[in-house]
Symmetry: C2
Subunit: 424 residues, 2 copies
């Protein structure tokens, strides 16, 4: 059985690699035509796709999944229309492939340039969101890459129907269907196997929680882009504008609490804690937020009669993904930075201050993918950053950091053209 798994994966890998060679020479217009064909094919297969999704939903209900989970995997008429409409946005994005980054005539006689090219084959592991199947396939093809997809088992029927429609479109454009392949079994051993397929797969993007990220870091022999875990901080400095700071903190916490760039912990300089915290508690309580705090934060909350739990090492290391907020009073900016270095996942942090020295120090010393001055952590997002599309949000430092756009799906090769030139 394990041997069969490996044979199956090697076959997927070989087919993907072979398909990637065809994709590498497509022009931008050819790739635009392919994406249009995919949109048409999804439209033509609408009934089949929605019927497949209904089977996934029925199975999920039978298995007792909760409402939130079922909502995540639901793909109704309206949502499918949204997925198809999003393809148009990608069609209109600039294609980075083929650009020559630099071109110079070297003293050794070589004309040297760096040409941007597709990565080749990308493996993506994700959870039970069928829209990701289309999003990722479209972004990969837009940049000339083949993909091997491994979605959540709860959406296997939906993903089969979606990928079949995409593969139809590839065939209709005279391209190899294996440019998009879905792993068609829920066997978990296939994930571990995929992570070691370094002969064929050039990059792994895991879109999932901490457990999946760790699994990939530990098992992959292929470069992995870790990300999507955001333990995010805002530090209200002694020179912060208190009323405006409360608005930014509330926005970062409340505007969409279930996503990775939502705020997890507020650090407050002790000299403004007495002024800021009572207003913050009142404001956020009314919005349904609950609190964990250090002793100083608890004392102030207790005076107001606001419920607050005791923060621990563990709570400071939580990504809440909910209307929960950690609060800590700190003695100075360096203590705040030290806290961030200890607990942050390297995603998004910000300082709230009117002091130019404090802001420069914070920007310099905080080492996260996105560092803000007087802005909500909620801005860390491909759309907000103007990238046009978002493959993932990387929290590692190599290749791509923060929101990843189309360019993160490409690499470059050095092109050297001589006239039968030898090295002296």
């Amino acid at each position: 059985m394990i041997e069969n798994n490996q044979q199956y994966l090697i076959q997927l890998g070989q087919q993907a690699k072979q398909a990637s060679y065809s994709l590498a020479s497509l022009t931008g217009a050819e790739k635009q035509a392919l994406l249009s064909q995919i949109a048409s094919s999804l439209e033509a297969n609408r009934a089949t796709i929605i019927e497949a999704n209904m089977r996934d939903v029925a199975m999920a209900k039978d298995n007792g999944l909760n409402e939130a989970m079922i909502d995540r995997l639901l793909l109704n008429d309206e949502r499918l229309s949204g997925v198809i409409a999003d393809i148009d946005n990608v069609i209109n994005l600039a294609d980075p492939v083929g650009t020559e980054l630099e071109s110079q005539l070297l003293d050794n006689g070589l004309r040297l340039s760096r040409r941007r090219v597709p990565l080749g084959v990308i493996g993506v592991i994700y959870e039970a969101r069928p829209n990701v199947t289309v999003d990722i396939a479209v972004l990969a093809l837009k940049t000339g890459n083949a993909v091997i997809l491994r979605g959540g088992k709860e959406t296997l029927q939906s993903n089969l129907a979606l990928s079949a429609a995409i593969r139809d479109a590839l065939t209709q454009q005279g391209l190899p269907a294996d440019a998009v392949q879905l792993i068609q079994s829920a066997d978990r051993a296939l994930v571990s196997g995929l992570l070691k397929l370094d002969r064929y797969v050039d990059m792994i993007v895991p879109r999932g929680g901490q457990h999946l990220q760790r699994l990939c870091a530990e098992q992959a022999t292929i470069p992995v882009i870790l990300g999507g875990i955001g333990i995010c901080h805002l530090y209200a400095d002694k020179d912060a504008d208190i009323a405006k700071s409360i608005d930014v903190i509330a926005n970062a916490k409340v505007q969409r609490p279930t996503v990775c760039n939502a705020l997890d912990t507020v650090l407050v300089h002790e000299s403004i804690a007495e002024a800021l915290l009572p207003q913050l508690y009142t404001h956020l309580c009314a919005l349904g937020v609950t609190f964990y705090g250090c002793q100083g934060a608890q004392v102030i909350a207790n005076k107001l009669g606001v419920a607050i739990s005791k923060a621990t090492e563990e709570t400071y290391g939580n990504e809440w993904l909910a209307l929960t907020l950690g609060i800590k009073v700190v003695s100075d900016i360096d203590t705040a930075i030290e806290h961030i270095r200890t607990y942050s996942s390297g995603h998004s942090e910000g300082i709230l201050t009117d002091n130019i020295h404090a802001s420069a120090h914070f920007l310099n010393q905080v080492d996260s993918a996105a560092v803000y001055v007087n802005a909500s952590t909620r801005f860390t997002d491909g759309g907000q950053f103007g990238l046009g599309a978002e493959v993932a949000v990387s929290t590692q430092k190599l290749h791509a950091r923060g929101p990843m756009g189309l360019e993160a799906l490409t690499t470059y090769k050095w092109i050297g053209v001589g006239d039968y030139t030898a090295r002296s």
Copy 2:
């Protein structure tokens, strides 16, 4: 013992990370002053360093190491002067840190830029070449990074003396000595431990053979830059200029056969094999080259009375690092490309041709770090490419590909500055 190793590594990691925060805010001039101090310190400790190296050499002789190995680890007066002189070259290079890659005012009110910053902490694993200790430390410090070094056990005494001199210089500049740390034990378990130190180390660069590269790919939980293995090809197309091609092939094979960009296999279009191969054999035989070939190549060699072994799957997958050359006659350009895809390590390949269509097809379809038209594979080198310095030659596609200069030791962070700006 294993627990002690882990404690030791965690301590190194914490100290390196802490040191990296101090380095992150240095200006270019401060880093130049540091490198000058390192050059002075190596000069001041010349006697100690050379004496330590003599102990390494004596030990190597006692252990029966061969002449080539001993020559590699030798650091005499002249070579140390060369190492010190090389620091001046690095001092004069432009410092990429602090550059803002783009700066734009977004519609959401945020002023957004990507600021180039040091990676943080770099782990480097290398073999018995003491000059690497200085080279890598200097390149890392130039870009504001801390390093943890693990050199070959044969040069431990030399490396201790060199790193002590570098750490002195750091202290004299008021910087933390732990910006440069050497693993002071030959225990192999420390390599595996270092590869899993992801809490503190941001990138691993293994400078060594296939075994080390594979170990890193399999065990590391930290992003690794694989590279330095070059199974390199030249394809002589049907439209190649035969006399000029022979010169380029000879250069690629003979000019320095022991390095990764030296040629391993020549692929020859069948329509020119009868014309090219006899001249190639004659020319290369005189230079001491021995051959492995396919049947077609053997037939031509036999006619000339040139000794040639039978090439196998295995020999085509060899990096020779010696005056040995594989030869294969192919029926067309796509067969040549297919051979390269099967056996190449993704380092350097080239086509020899006067045909513009063949060259474009080859450049497009061959997926290696460096792809050449009418040029020797020997050009793949940081110095030749004008990078000023070379950290390693990457054969993977993420972060850096091909010769890695100073920029490959940096990453970027997104900086967003608002006016207490919330996301709508």
